[in-house]
């Protein structure tokens, strides 16, 4: 980022940033914002219900009742799901309904697993609660979900945004153009918030995520579909670093500029699994 650049008026920047990010569908992003805002509300609503039942359960709990208790909680969660979704639905629309439904499914699935392994009222309570407050603990519970796919991966020249190579499961847009737009967004965000040496590392758009790792003269971006926890995001970042050090660092410039070769390697590394 050039030093000569005058500070930009915050409001103008934020507006511009919004405009860029909300390129095609401002509405969808607003809905996502609402979901994020509502997570806290959701927590308020759900925690008391769970609290109530757990304190009752605590009294009577014994190893023998494990199965029954498990069933009970499952049923209650299922009922609460309807309740919560219905009360929120009118104002939040389809997006959140889908989102909550999906989260409940994940939760149920993982509660089953967690309960089988480490059932204790305290642990259970903590985990359920942390799920709704978004604290890291939730990731323990959801760690078996593992349902994301890398759809596309790009290797892009850092300054110009020119594509050095790419691979994808299904080709969507023109990849040269995607690389350019991605670079524009990245440049804009980094310029707007001008924190020294900070790089944009993550973009989320609905169920679609872009994980970015910036190296000296290029950066890598992986477009990911599905749900992903921090550890998994970290794994993707790690494999980008692995790829870079195995295939790019110290490679001959003729190899790095051979986009067909790079693309083939990207495919082997990230897409074909």
């Amino acid at each position: 980022m050039a030093e000569s650049h005058k500070p930009i008026h915050d409001e103008v920047l934020l507006d511009r940033l919004k405009e860029i990010l909300l390129w095609d569908d401002r509405k969808e992003l607003d809905e996502i914002k609402q979901i994020l805002d509502t997570r806290a509300h959701l927590s308020e609503r759900v925690s008391p219900i769970i609290e109530e039942h757990l304190s009752a359960l605590k009294e009577t709990f014994s190893e023998d009742y494990k199965e029954i208790i498990n069933k009970l909680i499952e049923v209650k969660l299922k009922n609460s799901q309807e309740e919560i979704v219905n009360s929120l639905y009118p104002s939040l629309g389809r997006m959140i309904k889908k989102y909550i439904g999906h989260q409940f499914e994940l939760l149920k699935e993982n509660i089953d697993n967690s309960v089988k392994k480490t059932f204790s009222p305290a642990g259970f309570k903590r985990r359920v609660k942390s799920f709704f407050t978004g604290v890291k603990e939730s990731e323990l519970i959801l760690s078996n979900a593992n349902n994301y796919t890398i759809q596309e991966v790009f290797l892009i020249e850092r300054d110009s945004g020119l594509l050095m190579g790419s691979a994808s499961l299904h080709t969507t847009f023109d990849q040269d153009v995607v690389a350019g737009m991605l670079t524009a967004i990245k440049a804009f965000v980094e310029d707007a918030f001008k924190k020294e040496k900070q790089e944009l590392e993550f973009i989320e758009y609905g169920n679609y995520k872009i994980v970015i790792q910036t190296f000296f003269s290029y950066y890598m971006a992986a477009a990911i579909d599905g749900t992903m926890i921090t550890q998994e995001k970290f794994d993707v970042e790690e494999s980008m670093h692995d790829f870079a050090s195995a295939e790019l660092t110290g490679a001959k410039s003729s190899e790095v500029s051979n986009s067909e070769l790079i693309s083939k390697k990207l495919y082997e590394y990230f897409i074909k699994k």
């Binding site: 000569s4 005058k6 040269d176 350019g180 737009m181 707007a192």
Partner: protein, 161 residues
């Protein structure tokens, strides 16, 4: 295949997007849909039988440093600076803008383009050309398509040499 990054810049409404649309689709619309942020487009051209990918960054109408991130210009091979022949305001700051662009893209190729040629008579155009203090590379009409192809082809040619 070689790829080159090109920047289209200049004031609001001078016809940057129209020039590019004319170049790619041979289409022109009278409707003004302002570009938001930046739009990256691609078109490949042939220079002496060699294919060149032009990645054209069409930047929303503002050249000045406090509106457009300087990093948009990084790694560009050329800049097309467009002004509107019918609106003096769009070339009033030309010298200052070009200085600024030279500073953020040292050694980059800069083409100064006067657009909307179709709206003026020859003598009015001559007067504008006279008023403008810097050498204009080419006069275009995104509407009629006049000189549009030449603009991009010439640019590609000078980038490949």
């Amino acid at each position: 295949m070689t790829s080159k990054k090109i920047i289209l810049t200049g004031s609001f409404g001078v016809g940057k997007t129209s020039l590019f649309n004319q170049f790619i689709f041979n289409k022109f619309s009278d409707k003004y849909l302002t570009t938001i942020g930046v739009k990256v487009n691609k078109k490949s051209v042939f220079v002496d039988g060699e294919e060149v990918n032009l990645l054209v960054w069409d930047i929303a109408g503002e050249v000045s440093q406090d509106k457009v991130p300087t990093s948009y210009f990084l790694g560009a091979s050329g800049i097309i600076y467009v002004f509107d022949l019918t609106r003096p305001l769009t070339y009033k700051n030309l010298e200052k803008d070009i200085d600024y662009l030279k500073q953020i893209l040292p050694g980059g190729l800069i083409k100064i383009v006067g657009n909307k040629k179709d709206l003026l008579e020859e003598d009015a155009i001559a007067k504008v050309v006279n008023d403008v203090t810097m050498p204009i590379s080419i006069l275009t009409s995104a509407k009629s398509g006049e000189n549009v192809e030449d603009l991009f082809n010439d640019l590609a040619k000078s980038l490949i040499k």
